[in-house]
Symmetry: C2
Subunit: 586 residues, 2 copies
């Protein structure tokens, strides 16, 4: 099985150069789906001492698992698959990575030029196959037996550059397509040679704001007491220095900080000293009882909260500053007055130290509205049992330092509405780039794999859980013990109950709600997860099950079955009672 022309098989020489270069750039993890054409890459990754391999059978699961790992580690994770439809199974996670800004290296094996466009088996056009949904797409050179040395240098720099591109100012997926000609196997037992070749280190500066930009923002803040800071979702885990800088700006400017659950600001010690707002979903749905802000400073992506976004879209006179170091636009109401592509933490730090304002009466009224909503919500939750009760119980039981992954569509909205800011360091994740319901189980397990010391709580609905049941295979396969899946089974796509179309009951269930009718206990049995189902609104049993799982070491599914129609009725009842308290005030 020797390559044409003798000498070592060039597929391996090339793959080893790439893998070496990626390891030197900092790559530590790769998710591999089995295949034949990808043999050179799979063997090289597997043999490299500094890179951990996670094998997955379903490429869709592999890609979302990698996405979760990259979110939790904040660093690129690689994906490897064989040629053909396998590479297409990555597409949804690739787009999520692109939209959310999660670094990912997608390495696909391909056929050599003579098999492309020839009708050869398992051969599709993989060149630029993810279209505009990647930051960079490269069709690598075909490995040659007598390649000039520059060809190998090219692979080393390609490794460094693709890693740096995925991990750039704007983070996201990079696709490198690798054609391999047979033989795809090494000659005899595999003996990799990871030479310390020339390695290109790639550095990057910090987008420090100019003094004029800082001056202008200081002047704006100083001139307007009525200001908010709005923090939308941040991919993965925002760095501590950023969280603290934004919290500091809120304090110094006297601006309440509206903290999306995925912004990194909803939980943490800073909630003790910074004016963090969490119940805006409650008090922005109707008249607020206070004037609109004059200034809004936004960080991160569009907020999860529809009511917050709509409030900002309606308010014509708000001067909206949108700050993003990655240069990505996130304003679907087209209300941004000033967009600054600068380092967020640096800007906050510099502005904060120039402002010293106690929160004024207007700010106090915003905080009071938040406080009233929170109390009313808490009381309502104590007196009623619906899906939100289970969410609240799970979050309150989650130990300090735990990870929380929020499924789409209802779980993230429930947490946005009902999770009060508190000082625990809880790391919250979700797939809010494209907000699909796909790949949620795998993404959560990827987070758990990247951060194995922490208890992980996934809150997921039944449609989304069904969609990615295959992802459960990763729990045992990758030894992920401390994982708790809170499965909210309300019999279908409960989020659709919020839509006007829910009124047309005859076709609503068949076309939108689409209850799967599945009993999920067998899924837990198949994948070897512990399983418990909470019936009869049993709060004690739920709490016990949660605590046992958070402090145990076996992956566990806790299914909570609720009546989706009642869930939605109670949620509306609660909103109505929130309107009443607003009206009492105003």
């Amino acid at each position: 099985m020797s390559a044409e022309g003798g000498g070592p098989n060039p597929n391996f020489t090339f793959s080893e150069a790439m893998v070496s270069g990626l390891a030197e750039a900092g790559l530590e993890a790769v998710c591999i789906a089995p295949g034949s054409r990808s043999t050179p890459l799979a063997l090289a990754f597997d043999a490299h001492p500094c890179i951990e391999c996670f094998i997955h059978l379903d490429e869709r699961c592999a890609s979302f698992f990698a996405l979760g790992m990259a979110q939790a580690s904040g660093r690129p994770v690689a994906l490897v698959c064989t040629s053909g439809t396998a590479a297409l199974e990555f597409h949804a996670a690739v787009v999520e990575a692109m939209m959310a800004g999660v670094p990912m290296l997608v390495l696909t094996a391909d056929r050599p030029p003579e098999l492309r466009h020839s009708g050869a088996n398992q051969t599709i056009d993989q060149v630029k196959m993810y279209g505009d949904h990647v930051l960079w797409a490269v069709d690598a050179a075909l490995p040659e037996s007598n390649a000039p040395e520059v060809a190998l240098r090219n692979l080393r720099t390609l490794a460094a550059r693709s890693y740096a591109a995925a991990d750039g100012l704007r983070k996201g997926p990079v696709h490198v397509n690798f054609p391999f000609r047979k033989p795809l196997e090494p000659e005899g037992p595999y003996r990799p040679r990871f030479d310390q070749g020339q390695s290109s280190s790639i550095g990057r500066g910090v987008l420090v704001p100019t003094s004029e930009q800082v001056e202008e923002l200081v002047a704006l803040v100083s001139a307007h007491e009525r200001g908010w800071i709005v923090c939308g979702p941040w991919p993965g885990r925002p760095p501590c220095r950023l969280v603290e800088a934004i919290a500091e700006l809120g304090l110094s400017a006297g601006y309440p900080v509206f903290a999306d659950p995925l912004s990194g600001l909803r939980f943490g010690p800073h909630t003790g000293w910074s004016p963090i707002i969490g119940s805006y979903e409650g008090f922005l749905q109707h008249g607020t009882g206070f004037h609109a802000p004059e200034v809004v400073i936004r960080f991160g992506a569009m907020p999860t909260s529809k009511y917050l976004s709509e409030y900002l879209a309606r308010a014509e006179r708000i001067y909206q500053v949108h700050v993003r170091s990655d240069g990505v636009w996130a304003d679907d109401s087209h209300r941004v007055s000033c967009y600054l592509q600068v380092d967020e933490a640096e800007l906050c730090r510099q502005v904060a130290k120039r402002c010293r304002r106690e929160i004024g009466s207007w700010g106090v009224s915003v905080l009071a509205a938040d406080e009233r909503c929170r109390h009313r919500q808490d009381r309502f939750l104590r007196g009623n049992w619906f899906d939100v009760s289970a969410v609240a119980a799970a979050i309150s039981a989650l130990p300090d330092g735990g990870s929380l992954f929020l499924g789409n569509s209802l779980p993230v909205r429930h947490v946005d509405q009902f999770a009060r800011p508190d000082s625990r360091r809880i790391h919250v994740y979700g797939n809010r780039g494209a907000s699909g319901i796909d790949g949620v189980v795998s993404s959560a397990l990827g987070v758990a794999a990247a951060d194995p010391g922490r208890p992980m709580l996934l809150i997921v609905g039944d449609v989304s859980f069904y969609h990615d049941m295959n992802g459960l295979l990763a729990a045992h396969r990758h030894g992920l013990g401390n994982v708790t899946i809170l499965l909210l089974n309300n019999g279908g796509g409960g989020v659709f109950r919020r839509l006007p179309v829910a009124e047309d009951t005859a076709r609503f269930e068949a076309l939108f709600l689409t209850p799967s009718g599945l009993d999920f206990a067998p899924a837990a049995a198949m994948y070897g997860l512990d399983y418990g189902c909470i019936h009869d609104q049993d709060r004690v049993a739920l709490k016990e099950a949660l605590c046992a799982s958070f402090h145990g070491d076996r992956p566990t599914i806790i299914e909570v079955r609720t009546d989706g129609a009642k869930d939605e009725r109670l949620r509306r009842e609660l909103i109505h009672s929130l309107i009443e308290i607003q009206e009492d005030i105003s």
Copy 2:
């Protein structure tokens, strides 16, 4: 909930025009995944009296189900989904449809222009999102309240043209992306208006070969006694007139017909009078004992058989004629001497009636090699039990008129090698466009849904079955009773055992074989399928289980567990014994 500007909601006016147009063009079935943005399309399809809706929760399953339906019906099936990653979940099936030539209409809902590229939730760039993997991609106009009449005419012709494009000379997927602005719901109860608008019927002629082309082929056949006809996979079910015309050409030219299991020629009454060859995998692996053909006339895609393809690739002096009405190239060894884009049946019929040659001594020696292999294989199967034994038992028990869906990678190869031609009308399907292991369960159930009167046998390996377990939901949801799934569980990707890499046992299991370790009985329980597991090489129990399922009306999984290493060892032993009989002859 009335649209801006009053009057009926234009999203519905536009959707109804499109759906009406598609129904008039001939569309009869649509697979819909639930979502909000797609509400106008979903409601319009659901309301149309001539189109049947199949609802699926996992878009990947929906798309492969539609692919199976389109294969079995030979006509376009539509797919509908909401915006975002949902549309990406279709991509693998879209590519399979493109590569295999299966007609499909992919209708994706999208956001209006102001939400695109704005950071809006669940909004990705859907324009040309399937790249070069569709025959045609259209970004439809945004529905307007006061649209000029030509805008609605445009939708009617778009419907007719997209249907015709998917169902053209070259069949495949067409993508139409529909932007919708809120409100997405009808005003009050939905009252669709499917006006009989102007409808454009689109016809197409037949690519009749010129008399020169016929003359040349007749001269070629007349001049060469040593000729083969090689029939590769054909998408879906080839028409009877084509099967009979090819069989007739084989008979008249005295050319043995090498019939891929997916060509439509392996089974059927014509096997009684035409020289159909099915055991080429056996006698082409080593010296054949007869001279190579001088002429090969090929139909369909590249054959499934690696040995057949390699034999043709090695033989330098074969004059190879490749006939395909769709104009797609399928020759990865680049040996085609003459490519004819003409109607296959027409060419065969015209050439056949000009040739009258009894099969000669060379042809007889080919038939004899086939016969020897078949007998030896049958004897070997009687004396040994391995995965192939289960495949052979299942196919022999399948009733006349049944459908057979072959999974990748081993099932289709086993059937290619071991299923002898016979006169039953068995319709064989597989996903051999890109030959992925994804979506196989859903595709098979789609075939069953399109052709509900026939018993359906799916033969699938454990990795592929795991990959598409979600697809099982369709069995009960769509009332597919007469479905039998023969699950060959050999503990992972058995096809990899054929590769040289299987020798490096240490990493082979972890990186390539990747056994899931799953017990599949709970999957059957979860989806409400009957389940039986055949242990201990129990041929009688297998036969009984198969017959009960074929003649019953409940979807059934019959799992056959084998030792993959032993399966491969016995397969090699069999091949070795086939070499011996060849050597005896030559």
